[in-house]
Every structure is written in structure tokens, then in C-alpha cells.
């Protein structure tokens, strides 16, 4: 199948998922009504009387921002996963390996249990704390790794990331135990959820996703080269240290923003880059945009499952991605090992 055809199919599937996310739920909204509402909202026209009034707020105020938030978070996590895996030449690498999510979780937990409020920041305080702590953890990981190994070798960073993740998780567990009245909220946040997401979230995420994507695309050739290792990329003229640092920060930023809006959602950034490479090959010029689309579609679909499978109850979306992603990743990883080229 031609690349353009494959890209078309992936785009159509993701769009289909988005439409399903907007239409399906406790109340099913027909597609013509959806189109009418969206058109009227965009053009600031009056909603026709033949459309059930409750559909308007369900679609425009609840499902659309939620679906778009899920899509953007999926896209951000997947792009960040692509970067981490290529930079570290490690199919198991992700932002989680570098401690971003653990750090973010700790930041949010501290804000919740210490009841910190900053009026100017308002409802962005939790996301902000998550992002700052996530980024702080990864900077610490890189800093300590550099002190131990000046050339910033991949194994050093991964090991440091794991050590810090374990340490931060232990602190988080202690915090949860000390402030048991918040344990339910913290546990839910650690499993991820799109419940109650509004246009503010969706809009901000869209801006971050688009800006981040353009910045990452500038490095698509460097990512191709760095997936062969630092020495190989250095040999053809890549400023490896600088590029690696910038891309790690960029990936942490994308993950930090995604995680702080929704909580910790695993397996998207591990699984989606693999699937994308299987379909489109390894060139990052294609892998980056297509993993964004595929990851967005996947997470939107996971969110659809999370709120419909046990309706009216809602399953944390992180649990859905783990249930679908973990076995799928296991399958991909062990099947993929047969095809890996290795020599020397």
C-alpha cells in the first residue's frame, strides 16, 4: 500500500474516532445534528429548533473539548515517545523512563495535600506544578548523569531515570500515606482522566501541541541520525550533545503538559511509536506526524471506552490504555525482536 494511502487511512480512522467520541455516550447524538450544532457555534448563528437543546451543551460544552483534549494528549505523548526512543535507541524508552511522570505526580500531590493556592494561576496550578516537577526531575536526571558520565551515554540516562523514578515514587507513596484524606484523589490522578475537561484545556493543549510539533519537526533529520547512535550521528555532522539536550527538554515539556492536564497515562508513548514505525517505516519526517495522529486517535478511543464500557461509571483512562497497551506492546516487542538487525 502506498504511503499516502496509509496516511489517508490513519487520518480517516482518527477522524472517525473523534466523531464517535462526540456522538456516542449516555445520549447518542446523530451526525447531522452534530454538524448543525458545530456549524452554528462556529458561525455564531442560532441553533435550529429541530435540534434537541440538551444536545448542544452535551456536544459543545462536554464531549468536544473532552475528545479534543484526549486527542491532543495522545498526540503529545506519542511524539514525545518517538523522540525518547530514537534519542536513546531504546524501544522501551519513554518519558516515564526519564522520570517525567513520577516527578509530575509528586508535584501535583504536594499541591493537593499542602492545599497550596495561587490566585493568579487559578486552576492551572495543578498542571503547572506537574509540569515544573516533571521537568525538574528530568533536568536532575540529566545533570546527575552528566556528572557521572560526561558524554551522556544512553545507559547512564536510562539508569538515572529509573533510579529517580523509583525514588520519587517512594516519596509520593509516603506523601499519600501521610495525608490519607487525599488518597482517593491522588490515586485517580495517577490513573489519568479526561473527565470535566473544557475548552480552556483543549485550546491550550492545541496551542502547545502545534507549537511543539513544529519545533520537533525541525529535528526530524537529526532524529533519523540519532536513532543510529551518538557516534554515527556525530560522524555525519550532528552536534549530538546540543541536539540531544534540546530534544530531551522538548519531549519532557510535551509530556509534562500532557500529564499535568490529565494525570498519568501510560503505554501511549511506548506503543504508538512502534505501531507507527511498523506502518510507515522509520523516517521521522513521517513517523512524527503520523504517530501524533495515531496516538491522538488511540487515546480518544481509549477515553470513549473509559466512559462507555461501564457507563454510567467511568474507568480511569490510564487503566484502559494499560489494559490495551500492555499486551499489545508485549506482542510487538517480542515479535519485533525477530526482525531487528544487529551486528558487531
Amino acid at each position: 500500500m502506498k504511503t499516502t494511502t496509509k496516511a489517508g487511512v490513519v487520518l480517516a480512522l482518527s477522524l472517525g474516532v473523534l466523531v464517535a467520541c462526540m456522538g456516542i455516550g449516555s445520549v447518542n447524538i446523530p451526525i447531522p445534528d452534530m454538524l448543525t450544532i458545530i456549524k452554528a457555534k462556529i458561525t455564531a448563528a442560532t441553533i435550529p429548533t429541530n435540534v434537541t437543546p440538551s444536545y448542544v451543551s452535551i456536544l459543545w460544552d462536554i464531549r468536544m473539548p473532552r475528545a479534543i483534549t484526549a486527542f491532543m494528549v495522545g498526540a503529545l505523548l506519542s511524539v514525545s515517545g518517538v523522540i525518547m526512543q530514537s534519542l536513546l535507541q531504546n524501544p522501551l524508552a519513554s518519558s516515564y523512563t526519564l522520570g517525567v511522570s513520577s516527578g509530575a505526580a509528586l508535584g501535583v500531590a504536594l499541591v493537593v495535600v499542602l492545599n497550596i493556592t495561587i490566585p493568579v494561576v487559578g486552576f492551572f496550578l495543578l498542571p503547572l506544578a506537574g509540569f515544573i516537577f516533571g521537568l525538574g526531575t528530568v533536568l536532575l536526571v540529566i545533570g546527575v548523569a552528566r556528572r557521572l558520565d560526561t558524554s551522556l551515554k544512553n545507559q547512564t540516562i536510562i539508569l538515572m531515570g529509573m533510579v529517580f523514578s523509583l525514588f520519587v515514587n517512594a516519596v509520593l507513596t509516603m506523601v499519600s500515606a501521610m495525608f490519607s484524606q487525599h488518597i482517593q484523589r491522588l490515586t485517580l490522578w495517577q490513573m489519568g482522566s479526561f473527565s470535566g475537561r473544557r475548552w480552556t484545556h483543549a485550546g491550550l493543549l492545541a496551542v502547545v501541541a502545534l507549537t511543539g510539533f513544529v519545533l520537533v519537526m525541525r529535528y526530524h533529520r537529526e532524529l533519523d541520525l540519532m536513532s543510529f547512535g551518538e557516534e554515527q550521528s556525530m560522524a555525519v555532522g550532528v552536534d549530538t550533545k546540543q541536539t540531544k539536550k534540546r530534544l530531551l527538554l522538548l519531549a519532557s515539556f510535551l509530556t509534562g503538559v500532557a500529564v499535568c492536564f490529565t494525570g498519568i497515562i501510560g503505554f501511549v508513548d511506548l506503543t504508538i511509536p512502534h505501531v507507527t514505525r511498523r506502518i510507515f517505516g522509520s523516517k521521522h519526517r513521517l513517523v512524527l506526524p503520523m504517530s501524533a495522529v495515531l496516538g491522538g486517535g488511540f487515546l480518544a478511543f481509549a477515553d470513549l471506552l473509559s466512559r462507555t464500557v461501564l457507563s454510567p461509571r467511568e474507568i480511569p483512562v490510564g487503566a484502559v490504555t494499560a489494559l490495551v497497551g500492555a499486551p499489545f506492546f508485549l506482542y510487538l516487542y517480542f515479535m519485533g525482536r525477530k526482525g531487528d538487525a544487529s551486528c558487531g
Binding site: 526512543q85 530514537s86 535507541q89 531504546n90 524501544p91 557521572l148 558520565d149 560526561t150 558524554s151 551515554k153 545507559q155 547512564t156 519537526m217 525541525r218 526530524h220 533529520r221 533519523d224 541520525l225 536513532s227 543510529f228 547512535g229 557516534e231 554515527q232 556525530m234 560522524a235 555525519v236 555532522g237 550532528v238 552536534d239 549530538t240 514505525r277 517505516g281 522509520s282 523516517k283 519526517r285 526482525g339 531487528d340 538487525a341 544487529s342 551486528c343 558487531g344
Partner: protein
């Protein structure tokens, strides 16, 4: 004219990430390489050959001075270094598979600009020539993970050639290659080095191949240069024997004539 000058060069191979003590592999060497020469570096395992290559291309931290085409290496951007020197290092694992053509095109990195960095007609022509040179033209569309070790080695060599630099640095380029391909490659490298201004620097374990290619030999032992001279001079000296701690030339002769009949 000297293309590479090294003064009191010290370099270590940093393995602290693996819990191995940092080891000084190159211990204060000084030498010059003239433009247009073929230099082969010989020495037993652990003598510092590969670290020396990495140091003179700025791939490992070093102390002392390295001048590339008269300019201090430490002040040159990687892009500038890659315009003068193409390096083929020993292969490690390939985790993400690209086609052979895509891989060779990566050698054109320094020539491509813009957000999408689309290859130009010239890039495509150079890639085709490089593939032809290493005999991989027919495998251009194949994925790296379907190649044999030798084919993979040649794909990376083609990527090095596609950089179109005046200096080619090769670290054991004939590893994994069968005899026929070795012979073809050696012929190609000889032809390549005939172009005025082309300088070939290589680390070889295959001494006959090194002798066939080299104008000058650098012999290394325990991080130091034991000798650097024209190959004819080296062959008439005891330096080869000292380098490997056994009579290398006698061994090569006995291998070429195993029955001792003629």
C-alpha cells in the same frame, strides 16, 4: 600540506557508565598527516587505535592539540568537521530499520537545509554513485534489518562516501566482509585515494590489506606510537615484531605458503 596535526594528544575511553574505570587509551602522541596520503594504523587489541581515531575527529574528549586543516578541532562545529572528514566507526546495533538508500542519504545531512530537508538531484546522484561504489545498487530499497553483516557494513561505508569529504577515516572497514568484497573495496579505496587531496586514514587488523593500501604506517602499542614511517621502511625494521610481540612478517609468509613448498 598537513591535514591533521596532533601534539601531545591524550585521550581516554570513558566507560564509567558501565562501571569500568576510565582508561587512558592514548598517552601523549604527536604526529602529522600530510594531505593526499594513505595512512594505516596498526596495533594489537587495546593499543589505542580506535580511541586515537575518535580523538582526532573530536568524538571523545581529549587533551593536547589537534589541528584539522590548520584549525583547532575543539573550535570547529561538528558540521564543519563533517565537511572535511567522513568517519566510518565500528558498527553497533541497528534498532530502527531504514532502507539502504535512506541510510546512505543520511550522509548528505550537511548538504540538506530547510524544515523538510528534501534531497536535491545532486544528493540522489551522489547516493547512487556511493551505492554503486560499494556494490549495493541492487539492494537500495532493502531494509537494513534484512541485510547480512557484510551488506550492512557496505551500506554504512556508502553513507560515509556520500559525505564527499577530502578525508576518509575508516575503523576496520573490512570486518564482516567476504574476501571478494574485501578485494573490491580495497580496489575502490585505492582508486578513491588517487584523487589529489584525498586522504585515507584507517585502522586495520588485516595487515596485508593495510600494506596494500598504505603509503605510511602508524604502529601503536599501549597507547603510544611505536613508529610512523613509510611502509617500506617499517617493513625493513623490527617495529612490526615489537608492535605485535611476534614475527608478523614470518607469520604472513607462512600463511601465504602453508606447505612451505616454494
Amino acid at each position: 600540506m598537513w591535514i591533521i596535526e596532533c601534539k601531545n594528544l591524550h585521550a581516554a575511553y570513558d566507560r564509567r557508565d558501565l562501571g569500568i574505570e576510565e582508561k587512558e587509551a592514548v598517552k601523549g602522541v604527536s604526529f602529522t598527516i600530510e594531505s593526499g596520503q594513505n595512512i594505516c594504523i596498526l596495533g594489537s587489541n587495546g593499543s589505542g587505535k580506535t580511541t586515537l581515531l575518535r580523538a582526532i575527529t573530536g568524538m571523545v574528549p581529549y587533551s593536547g592539540e589537534v589541528l584539522l586543516d590548520g584549525q583547532p578541532l575543539q573550535k570547529l562545529r561538528r558540521e564543519k568537521i563533517a565537511q572535511k572528514v567522513a568517519v566510518m566507526t565500528q558498527l553497533s546495533q541497528v534498532y530502527f530499520s531504514y532502507s539502504v538508500e535512506e541510510t546512505v542519504m543520511m550522509g548528505r545531512y550537511i548538504y540538506q537545509e530547510g524544515l523538510l530537508g528534501r534531497p536535491t538531484k545532486e544528493d540522489c546522484e551522489v547516493v547512487a554513485e556511493s551505492l554503486e561504489a560499494v556494490g549495493l545498487k541492487d539492494l537500495a530499497k532493502r531494509q537494513l534489518n534484512t541485510l547480512s553483516g557484510g551488506e550492512l557494513q557496505r551500506a554504512f561505508l556508502a553513507r560515509t562516501l556520500a559525505q564527499q569529504t577530502p578525508v576518509l577515516i575508516l575503523d576496520e572497514p573490512t570486518n564482516h566482509l567476504d574476501l571478494k568484497v574485501q578485494a573490491e573495496l580495497s580496489e575502490y579505496l585505492k582508486e578513491w585515494s588517487k584523487t589529489p587531496g584525498h586522504t585515507l586514514i584507517g585502522v586495520f587488523h588485516d595487515i596485508p590489506l593495510a600494506l596494500a593500501l598504505a603509503d605510511e604506517l602508524i604502529l601503536m602499542k599501549q597507547g603510544r606510537i611505536l613508529a610512523k614511517d613509510r611502509k617500506e621502511t617499517i617493513l625493513q625494521s623490527k617495529f612490526l615484531t615489537d608492535t605485535y610481540d611476534f614475527d608478523v612478517l614470518q607469520y604472513i609468509k607462512s600463511m601465504a605458503n602453508p606447505t612451505g613448498d616454494f
